[in-house]
C-alpha cells in the first residue's frame, strides 16, 4: 500500500501541476486583490442535482478559459436543504477564499430554521447569473393540450387521483404547486422526489400525472416527443418555447423564478468582492454560458452589488408570505 500511496501522490502532484500550468497564463493586472490559495466554491445542494451541475458547469467555464489564477474547488454542503452550507459560509465571515452558489433555498431555509442564525442580507453579494424558469408539464401520451383542459382533468380526477411530482416539501416545486392550487381552486396529491431529474423521469414513466419542472430538466424528453409543456411561469414567453403561453396571458399572474447567484461570506473586502464580480462577469459573458441560458430556457439576469442584496431581501419577504400561506412557517 505504501507503493500505491506514493504513486498516487506523485500522480496527483503532477496532475495538479498540469492543471495549475493550464490556468496560470491568465493575467489580471488590473485587479488589486487576487486569491492566495484555491477558492472554496460551496454548493448548497448534494452532488448530481441541478444546482450542483450548474455550479460545476460554471467551474468548468472558469477553468477552460483561465478566468481565475487559482482553481475554484466545488464543495457540496447540501445537508438540511442548504442549512449546512449557509451556516458554514456565515461562520467564514471575513474569509475571502470562500464563495457559494445559491438557489431559492437561500431564502426558504433560513426562514424555516430561524435557529440557524443566518441573515442573508449580511452576506456579500457577488452576482446573479440567471433566473431559471418553471413550466407546467404533462406526458405527451395524455390528451391534455392546454391549461384549460388540464384544470378540467385535475378537477375531474380529484385530489386522490391526480399526482403532482416535485422536489422536497417546502422547496420550489411545492411552492409553485401551491400557487397553482390556490389560483385554479383544485387540489393535487404532491409526491416529493429527490431531484428535478428524477421528477422528470417519473412523469415520462407515468408514475405521476404532472410536474412543474425547469425546462432544462425536461428538455431531453421534450425533444424526443415524450413530454408537453402547457404554460410557463414567466412574464413573457420563452425563446425556446415560442408556442407555449405564459400564465399571465391566460389571465393569471403566476410568476416564479429560481435565482442562480453567487455570494461570499459577510464582511469580505471591497477588493475581493470586485475580483469575484470580475471573474463571474467573464463567465456570464462567455459563449458557453449564454448558449446554455438560451438552450435551457433560463433568463439572463445579471445583477450585482447593493441591487442584488435588495433583490434578495425582497425575494425573502415574498417567500416568507408564500411559506406562511402554505402553513410551512408561522
Amino acid at each position: 500500500m505504501r507503493l500505491i500511496t506514493k504513486a498516487a501522490t506523485v500522480g496527483f502532484a503532477s496532475l495538479l501541476a498540469l492543471s495549475v500550468s493550464a490556468t496560470s497564463f491568465s493575467s489580471d493586472a488590473a485587479a488589486a486583490w487576487k486569491p492566495q490559495k484555491p477558492v472554496e466554491f460551496v454548493i448548497m445542494a448534494g452532488k448530481g442535482g441541478g444546482a450542483d451541475r450548474l455550479a460545476r458547469f460554471i467551474q468548468g467555464i472558469i477553468k477552460k478559459h483561465g478566468f481565475a489564477s487559482l482553481p475554484f474547488v466545488p464543495i457540496n454542503k447540501g445537508g438540511g436543504s442548504g442549512a449546512e452550507a449557509l451556516r458554514y459560509v456565515r461562520d467564514k465571515a471575513g474569509d475571502p477564499h470562500v464563495i457559494m452558489a445559491t438557489l431559492n433555498s437561500y431564502y426558504t431555509t433560513p426562514l424555516r430554521n430561524p435557529g440557524l442564525g443566518v441573515d442573508i442580507s449580511k452576506f456579500t453579494p457577488i452576482a446573479r447569473m440567471a433566473e431559471d424558469t418553471f413550466q407546467l408539464w404533462v406526458s405527451s401520451d395524455t390528451k391534455i393540450m392546454n391549461v384549460e383542459q388540464y384544470v378540467a382533468a385535475v378537477k375531474k380526477a380529484g385530489m386522490a387521483n391526480w399526482k403532482m411530482g416535485g422536489t422536497g416539501k417546502g422547496a420550489e416545486d411545492s411552492l409553485v404547486t401551491a400557487m397553482l392550487e390556490k389560483t385554479y381552486g383544485f387540489q393535487v396529491t404532491y409526491i416529493p422526489f429527490k431531484g428535478g431529474g428524477t421528477v422528470a423521469k417519473q412523469l415520462i414513466g407515468k408514475h405521476i400525472n404532472s410536474t412543474v419542472n425547469n425546462p432544462s430538466e425536461q428538455m431531453g424528453f421534450f425533444q424526443a416527443g415524450k413530454s408537453r409543456p402547457l404554460a410557463t411561469f414567466t412574464p413573457n414567453r420563452l425563446k425556446v418555447f415560442p408556442n407555449v403561453p405564459t400564465f399571465r396571458e391566460l389571465g393569471h399572474d403566476l410568476v416564479y423564478f429560481m435565482q442562480r447567484s453567487v455570494v461570499a461570506p459577510p464582511g469580505i473586502s471591497k477588493d475581493a468582492q470586485a475580483y469575484y464580480v470580475g471573474v463571474f462577469e467573464k463567465v456570464y459573458q462567455s459563449k458557453e454560458w449564454q448558449t446554455y441560458l438560451t438552450k435551457k430556457g433560463l433568463l439572463p439576469g445579471w445583477l450585482t452589488g447593493d441591487k442584488l442584496t435588495s433583490y434578495f431581501v425582497k425575494e425573502r419577504e415574498a417567500h416568507r408570505k408564500l411559506l406562511a400561506s402554505m402553513g410551512e412557517i408561522k
Binding site: G60, S81, E84, G220
Partner: protein, 506 residues
C-alpha cells in the same frame, strides 16, 4: 446489423492513438484512486473532469469512463489487502476478501476480483450494446412501488437464507436502519435524530464513514488483538503459475459471476440505485444460492466474485439512464453528466441520434477499458501482495492513517472522522459479540432508498399497501421477497419435523 456497423465505427474511434492512450492512463489513474480508501470514482471523476477540456469531448468521456472503470477494479484492492473498503462500491468485497487475505489466499482473491470485474463489465457492455433503447424503457417502468419491492428483495436476501443467528441479523439491520434515518427527512425536510444537536448530523451518516469505521478501524483493532504485532500472513509467494491456477479455479464460480453481472447491470440501470446497492445485493444472492452459506464471511471466493462482477456491471449499467434519459444512475455518472453539458452534448433520448460517434466511441472504449483494467490489475498483483509481508506493527499505523484520510476525504469534515472512530470501536465490539456487520451496512445503504420509495408509494396510493401487489413488476418482486423472508421459518419447521421423525425411529 446497424448496431454492429456502428460499433465497428466506435472501435475505430476508440483505437485512435490519443483515445487508446487515454484509456490506458484512465485505467491506471482509476486503479490508484479506487484503491485509496475514501477516494472513489466520484472523487476521481470530479477531480479530473476539468482536465478533460484539453482534449475533444469524445476523448474526454473515454478517459473519464476508463477512470470510472479502473476505480471499480481498484476499490477491491484495499478491501482485500487492508480490510478498508476502497470505495463504497467495494464494501461488499471486504466481507470475504479480507478473510481470504488473512488465510493466505490474497492472490486468489485479487485475481478473482479482477476476473469477475472483467466478466461483469463485459456482460453488461454487451447488454448495453444490444438493448440500450428498450432497457431505457425498463428504467422508466420502475416507479416508487417497484423500487421499494426491489429494496425488500435486497433485505430478504440477507435474512432469508444463511447461517447467521437470525435475531442478531435483525438487530444489526435495525441499528443500520435507525442510523440511516439520521439527518434530514427527504419528504418533509425536517431534521431527525440530530444527536447532541451536532451540525454534522444534518447531512446524515455517510455510509462510507460507517463502512471504513467498522471494517477498517474495527478490523484493525481486532487484528491487533489477534496478531500481537506479528506478520499476519507468512505465505505470500506469487508466481505466474499461481495466478493461472487462480484463474482456472474461477471456473467453479462462473454461475455466481454470471448472476452478479446480470443483477448488477439491472440494478445499475435503475436511476437512484447504482453500484453500491447492486454489489451488496449480489453478495446476498450469492450467499442465498450457495450450498454452503455458512462459509460466507469467512473467506469464500464467491463472496468476492459476486459483488465485484456486480459493481462493474452496475457502473456500465448506470451509464444507460445517463445517456438515454439524461438521468444519472449513480453519483459518478451525475458528474459525468455535468461534463457532457460543458462539452456541449445534450444527454437524453436524442443523444443516440444526434451524436452517434460520441455514443459508440464511448461504448467501444468501454470494451477496451475493461480489457486494459484487467491486464493492469493482474500485472500489479505481486506488488499489492508485498503489503502482507509487512509486520503488523508497521501496517496498523498505515491502515489507521488511511482510514482517517478516507473518513475525511468525501465530505472534508472532521465530524466524520470522529464518527468513524466511534464506529470503529462499535464494529470491534459487535465482532467480539458475534453480531453480523454486513446486514447493518446493507441497511444504511438501502434504508434511505427504501424509506423514500415506500413513503412515495403510499402517498400515491393514499395509504393502501395493495399498490405493491397490484402492479405487475412490483407484485412479482414482492412475492419473491416474501418467499425469501419466509424461508427460514419453513426450513426450521422442516428441520424440527425431521429430527422429530428421527427421534421417533430411534
Amino acid at each position: 446489423m446497424d448496431v454492429l456497423a456502428a460499433l465497428m465505427d466506435g472501435f475505430f474511434i476508440a483505437f485512435e492513438p490519443l483515445n487508446l492512450g487515454l484509456v490506458i492512463f484512465g485505467c491506471m489513474a482509476g486503479l490508484f484512486i479506487g484503491a485509496m480508501p475514501g477516494l472513489g470514482s466520484v472523487n476521481g471523476v470530479a477531480i479530473l473532469l476539468p482536465m478533460t477540456f484539453l482534449v475533444p469531448p469524445t476523448s474526454a468521456i473515454i478517459f473519464l469512463a476508463a477512470l470510472y472503470y479502473g476505480a471499480m477494479y481498484g476499490g477491491a484492492i484495499s478491501s482485500i489487502m487492508l480490510g478498508i473498503p476502497g470505495a463504497s462500491t467495494a464494501v461488499a468485497t471486504t466481507f470475504d476478501g479480507r478473510p481470504m487475505a488473512l488465510k493466505g489466499m490474497a492472490d486468489k482473491a485479487l485475481v478473482g476480483a479482477a476476473a469477475a470485474s472483467f466478466v461483469g463489465g463485459t456482460i453488461s457492455i454487451i447488454l448495453f450494446t444490444a438493448f440500450a433503447p428498450p432497457l431505457a424503457d425498463v428504467a422508466l417502468a420502475f416507479g416508487p412501488p417497484e423500487e421499494f419491492a426491489l429494496m425488500m428483495l435486497a433485505f430478504a436476501t440477507f435474512i432469508g437464507l444463511g447461517g447467521d443467528d437470525i435475531p442478531k441479523t435483525f438487530f444489526s439491520i435495525f441499528i443500520g436502519l435507525v442510523m440511516s434515518s439520521v439527518g434530514l427527512d427527504i419528504i418533509s425536510g425536517n431534521p431527525r435524530l440530530i444527536f447532541m444537536d451536532l451540525p454534522g448530523f444534518y447531512h446524515g451518516i455517510n455510509f462510507l464513514v460507517l463502512a471504513i469505521g467498522i471494517y477498517g478501524i474495527g478490523e484493525m483493532l481486532w487484528t491487533v488483538e489477534q496478531a500481537k504485532g506479528d506478520v499476519i500472513v507468512t505465505k505470500v509467494t506469487v508466481t505466474v503459475r499461481g495466478i493461472i491456477e487462480a484463474l482456472k479455479d474461477l471456473r467453479k464460480t462462473k454461475k455466481v459471476m454470471f448472476m452478479g453481472s446480470i443483477l448488477g447491470f439491472f440494478v445499475g440501470i435503475l436511476p437512484a440505485a447504482g453500484a453500491t446497492p447492486g454489489s451488496l445485493m449480489a453478495y446476498g444472492v450469492a450467499r442465498t444460492m450457495s450450498k454452503d452459506p455458512d462459509s460466507f464471511g469467512k473467506g469464500n471466493i464467491e463472496g468476492v466474485v459476486a459483488p465485484e462482477a456486480a459493481n462493474n456491471a452496475a457502473s456500465t449499467g448506470s451509464m444507460l439512464p445517463m445517456l438515454t434519459l439524461g438521468i444519472p444512475g449513480s453519483p459518478t455518472t451525475a458528474i459525468l453528466l455535468g461534463g457532457m453539458v460543458i462539452w456541449g452534448l445534450e444527454p437524453g433520448p436524442m443523444l443516440f441520434i444526434e451524436h452517434k460517434e460520441f455514443v459508440w466511441g464511448l461504448i467501444a472504449s468501454l470494451y477496451a477499458a475493461n480489457f486494459f483494467a484487467l491486464a493492469i490489475n493482474i500485472a500489479f498483483v505481486p506488488a499489492f501482495m508485498m503489503v502482507l509481508k509487512m509486520p503488523f506493527t508497521i501496517l496498523a499505523p498505515i491502515i489507521f492513517i488511511l482510514c482517517i484520510v478516507g473518513g475525511f476525504a468525501p465530505t472534508q469534515d472532521m465530524h466524520d472522522v470522529w464518527l468513524m472512530l466511534v464506529f470503529g470501536v462499535m464494529g470491534y465490539l459487535m465482532r467480539k459479540l458475534d453480531y453480523p456487520l454486513a446486514p447493518m451496512v446493507l441497511a444504511i445503504v438501502l434504508g434511505p432508498l427504501a424509506e423514500a420509495s415506500v413513503r412515495q408509494s403510499l402517498m400515491m396510493s393514499h395509504g393502501s399497501f395493495a399498490t405493491f401487489f397490484e402492479r405487475p413488476i412490483s407484485g412479482t418482486i414482492m412475492l419473491i421477497a416474501i418467499g425469501l423472508f419466509a424461508w427460514p421459518i419453513f426450513s426450521t419447521v422442516r428441520k424440527r419435523f425431521r429430527s422429530g421423525a428421527y427421534g421417533a425411529e430411534g
